[in-house]
């Protein structure tokens, strides 16, 4: 009898302990989880590819990437380099045939520069019911040089980006940028806006 009572009380305490553990686990799950430090103190290496979206005469593919450092969760800085691969579009020859117009054979060759990013919006997104991923929306500003078929030109760039952190050390990045420079044609100089769509992966390496 005494032995049975001891065993019963042991069993009861185990059940109570399991219930308390479950309650403690769910007590730590908030509607909005505590903000985690996801990029601060990390070096970011981001191979990316891009496309010049608003050039009707050339298909211009950019291959390259970013190398940067995140000082805080909001601010980061770094450098960038892109090599361009270009091909005439069908519209280049179509406009010659239809209207005897001969577009300038000017296209990008490579670009390099520095940038600064600021991420005022940070959050999470749910691929329900599988996973929750961190997201960062950022604005980007930079300056550098752009080499086209007419020579080397200083350029400036502003853009928006979205970073989706799939795991703690890598993420998917999408950027929309406006690259501005002054192109020197034979007849005149012209201020140009090139809209670029870039996408790629980024790898985060903690250093601090």
């Amino acid at each position: 009898m005494r032995t049975s009572l001891v065993l019963l009380s042991l069993l009861w305490s185990c059940v109570a302990w399991a219930q308390e553990e479950r309650s403690e686990v769910f007590d730590r799950i908030y509607v909005i989880q505590k903000m985690e430090t996801v990029v601060r103190g990390h070096i970011e290496i981001a191979p990316m590819a891009g496309y010049v979206a608003n050039d009707p005469y050339f298909h211009q593919l950019a291959v390259g990437g970013n190398l940067g450092f995140h000082i805080t969760e909001e601010w980061g800085l770094g450098g960038t380099f892109y090599q361009y691969f270009t091909m005439r579009s069908s519209f280049f020859s179509q406009v010659q045939r239809d209207y005897a117009i001969y577009p300038s054979n000017v296209h990008n060759e490579w670009s390099a520069g520095g940038w600064l990013t600021w991420a005022p919006i940070r959050g999470k997104v749910a691929l329900y019911p599988l996973a929750i991923m961190h997201t960062r929306f950022y604005v980007k500003a930079g300056a550098g040089v752009l080499r086209t078929s007419t020579g080397l030109h200083p350029d400036g760039e502003v853009g928006l980006g979205l970073q989706l952190l799939a795991m703690s050390f890598w993420s998917v990045v999408v950027e929309l940028s406006d690259q501005m420079y002054i192109e020197k044609y034979n007849a005149r100089d012209e201020f140009k806006n090139q809209f670029l769509v870039r996408a790629g992966f980024s790898f985060l390496i903690p250093v601090l």
């Binding site: 069993l11 185990c14 479950r22 909005i32 940070r122 749910a126 599988l130 997201t135």
Partner: protein
């Protein structure tokens, strides 16, 4: 006695592992706010086409969707298109002086639409203002009315569409949507200086669309798990 102790040890093992397994089987979100399921969405739309060679269009219309599930909505939209000449068209006409570039102009579009919303989330602006948002893809097809100029004939027809966008929730029942869509329209984009007949082809009409989504019922539901 030995049997009793062994039975007790077995019970201890099963109870704790069952608790751990219960937690692992739980979905990543509990008591999730349901933003779409069983809700109607009415959206006034404003858009404009980008990357056009000869003719831009401003798109004005209205859309309706019903979300069967939180991730799936079906609906329709009707859009009126107002044409605007592109800078290339202006330059060609100014350069020649006596030439008018004949183009096709989209007048009206009506589409059936399917929306998939795989990702929903929450974010904070400057760590102080929370808001909900989602990513979605859309696809559809419908009727388009195209008016031709000069030697180009009018061409009503079938136009498939696909796109993607984001929705930002200002209140539980009102959101702002930003989308990029591609309307594939079978049309003759422009004539030529010698006015020879040109065959029609599917032309990409890439458009940026801004909408204000009004949801009914206004209040959000909470998932049962």
């Amino acid at each position: 006695m030995r049997t009793t102790i062994l039975s007790l040890l077995f019970l201890l093992t099963v109870s704790t592992t069952a608790t751990a397994a219960d937690v692992l089987e739980e979905p990543v979100l509990k008591n999730r706010r349901v933003y779409h399921a069983d809700r109607h969405e009415i959206t006034p739309i404003l858009g404009f086409t980008l990357l056009d060679h000869y003719q831009h269009h401003v798109l004005i219309g209205v859309g309706y969707k019903y979300f069967i599930f939180d991730w799936l909505g079906v609906g329709a939209e009707a859009l009126y298109a107002a044409p605007l000449s592109s800078s290339l068209k202006q330059d060609i006409e100014d350069g020649y002086g006596t030439v008018t570039v004949s183009t096709s102009k989209i007048q009206f579009m009506a589409n059936a639409i399917l929306e998939l919303t795989p990702l929903t989330g929450k974010a904070m602006i400057l760590s102080s203002v929370p808001f909900a948002y989602d990513f979605h893809v859309v696809g559809g097809a419908g009727f388009v009315s195209v008016k031709g100029e000069g030697s180009i004939e009018d061409r009503p027809g079938f136009a498939p569409m696909f796109g993607a966008g984001m929705r930002f929730y200002v209140t539980p029942g009102i959101a702002v949507s930003l989308e990029m869509r591609d309307y594939l329209v079978n049309m003759v984009e422009a004539g030529s200086i010698d006015a020879l007949d040109k065959s029609a082809a599917f032309v990409h009409n890439v458009a940026f669309m801004l909408g204000v989504n009004f949801f009914l019922p206004y209040d959000l539901l909470t998932s049962k798990n």
